[in-house]
Each structure stands twice: as C-alpha cells, then as structure tokens.
C-alpha cells in the first residue's frame, strides 16, 4: 500500500512539474490586432525606420536583425516619468550585460533639443554603451510617426494614460519585428516581471 501511494505521488509530481516546465517553455504571444490576408493571419510589424544615435551612427531595422530589442520614447529634459523609466531600464541593461541578442532602442521625442551631442552627454551620464543601447533622434515626423507602431499596443491597456508616447511604456520586439510584450517602465515590480519575460523570450 505504501509503495502504491508513493508511486501515485510521484506520478502526480511528474505531471505537475511537466505542466510548470511547459508553461515556461511556451513562446510569448505575438501582440497587436491581427488581420486575415489571403487566408493567412498577419500580425502588425514595426515598419522601416532610420534614425541617428548618440555616436552619430545610422540606426535602422537592420541594426536589430536577428535580435530582440526593447523600445521606449523619452527625452533628456523630462522631469518626472523618463527618469523613473531610465532607472528601470538600467536594471534591464545591467541584468542582461553580455547578452548579445538583446538591445535597447530609446527614441527622443524632443527633436529640437536632444541633438546627437546632447544624447551623447546623456548616455555618458547614465553610463551606457551605444552598441547595446541606442539613444536616437531624427525628424519629428519620423519619431512621432513610428510611435504608434510601438505604443498602440499599450493604448489598448485601459490603464495606459492618454498621450501614450509619454506614458513610460517599454515594448519588446522580436527578430521578426513583432511586438511580444510590454510593461509600465515606471513600475519596479512590473519591470522585474518583464525581466522574467525577457528570459523566456531569449530561450525561443
């Protein structure tokens, strides 16, 4: 009887552990409003872009080919939201040091003042390398034009404030330019959870 009980227990334990393991091995969903095209399900992709980073280097979709990247929108003279988000993104930057498959792309929405030298100074102030974390600027229409491609996903969140390009959301994009996750970058707990999501993503 005791042996039977033990076997039953081990069987349930095995099932339970497998269930947990399969959860963490599950791929992240692709986010965004899908459309049907010729019988295929199409998910929105980040469109083509071209910006300049803090080292005056051209940054395009090609810069992130084969990589995952985190995107956000900020500006250097932002008094409240952006410093909180940058603090949390630095946690991500430090946590994933050495992880070549993950990059960061921060777009400045202050296209008048956040020139390349200003972005360079800001990068030095927060202690980041451009090859891992690009701070970019570009024409105002291009920066504001691409924001909805990233942040409209957060717009669907009823808790997202109006004016989503200053909401503090950070977005995870996969090597196929699909959005796979996002979180409120001002919230330390949510960013901790997001880092677990990043670990899952990098296992795909």
């Amino acid at each position: 009887m005791r042996t039977t009980d033990l076997l039953v227990f081990l069987a349930f334990l095995t099932l339970f552990l497998n269930a947990c393991a399969s959860d963490s091995n599950e791929k992240l969903p692709i986010l965004g409003e899908m459309i049907l095209e010729n019988g295929d399900t199409i998910f929105p992709k980040i469109p083509d872009f071209e910006f300049i980073n803090q080292d005056s280097q051209r940054v395009t979709n090609e810069t992130f080919q084969g990589k995952w990247y985190i995107a956000d929108f900020f500006f250097t003279s932002c008094p409240t939201i952006c410093p909180k988000v940058k603090k949390q993104m630095l946690r991500i930057y430090e946590r994933f040091e050495g992880e070549e498959r993950l990059k960061i792309l921060s777009h400045s929405i202050d296209t008048r003042r956040d020139s390349v030298p200003v972005l360079k100074k800001y990068a030095e102030k927060i202690g980041i390398e451009s090859q891992r974390w690009h701070l970019v600027t570009g024409p105002k229409d291009d920066i504001f034009g691409i924001a909805p491609a990233y942040l409209s996903i957060a717009k669907e969140d009823e808790n997202a404030p109006g004016g989503f390009d200053h909401s503090g959301y950070i977005i995870l994009v996969d090597p196929d330019r699909h959005i796979r996750a996002y979180c409120d970058g001002t919230d330390e707990v949510k960013v901790s959870e997001f880092m677990h999501t990043l670990e899952r993503a990098l296992k795909e």
Partner: protein
C-alpha cells in the same frame, strides 16, 4: 568641580538639543519644498501627455488646410488654430527645458520656494494654453 560638571553637561545638552531642532526644521523645510515641487509636477504630468494629441490635431488641421479653398474664413480659422497649437506645444517644451536648466541653481529654501512658485504659475499658464488650443482645434474640426 561638581558645578563645572553640571555646567558642562548643560552646555552639551543645549548644543545637542539645538542641533536636533535644527535637523527637524531642515526636514520641515525639505518637505515644504518637496510638496511644492510635487504640485508643479502634478500640473506638468497631467497635461504633458496631451503633446501627442496636439501633434495629431496639427496634422488634421494641416490636412484640412490643404483640402480647402484658399482665402476663406475657414482658412483663417485653420491658421489661427494651428498657431495656437504650435504656440502651446512650444510653450511646454520651453518650460521643460528651462526647468531642467534652472532648478538645480536654487540652493536655499527661499530660492527654491520662490523658483517653484514662479514655475507653478508658468506651468499653469502652459496647461491652459494647451487645453485651450486643443479645444479650439477640436471644435474647428467638427465643422
């Protein structure tokens, strides 16, 4: 000898008490400055997200300008609305830049409070400009 010991303890005690009181009043001053800072930022945070709405309205107004007949009353209205939106947006950016540049320059409590009082007035004016320009543009676009 006993007298000097008592005097010594009294003097030390007075110094200690005064230091503590000074520390307490510093905390109170910091709180006052912090509270006023939060009031200023509350106004800013409430309206700054509307920058993207202003952007959107600027685009819609420009599209209407291009579609409409030139030299009409509507064109004048579009021009005025666009100017109001542009002015309001620029006012917010100018305020943030100036605040970022100047806030750290105030060192004493009086300077900080004076600075923040001024900034509260300015950001309130910026807020009103933004909200009014948005309202003007939205009403125009319904016509």
């Amino acid at each position: 000898m006993q007298y000097y010991k008592i005097l010594y303890i009294f003097i030390l005690g007075s110094i200690f008490t005064m230091a503590c009181q000074s520390g307490k009043s510093n905390d109170a001053e910091d709180t006052e400055v912090e509270n006023l800072y939060e009031e200023v930022m509350y106004i800013h945070d409430d309206v700054m997200p509307k920058i993207s709405l202003i952007q959107e309205l600027q685009g819609k107004i420009k599209a209407r300008q291009e579609q409409g007949e030139p030299d009409t009353t509507m064109q004048t209205a579009y021009k005025d609305a666009l100017l109001a939106l542009n002015t309001a947006e620029q006012a917010m950016w100018d305020w943030m830049h100036a605040f970022s540049d100047n806030y750290g320059k105030a060192t004493t409590k009086e300077e900080k409070m004076a600075f923040l009082h001024e900034e509260k007035i300015t950001i309130t004016d910026v807020r009103d400009k933004m909200l009014n320009s948005i309202s003007q543009a939205e009403e125009l676009l319904t016509q």
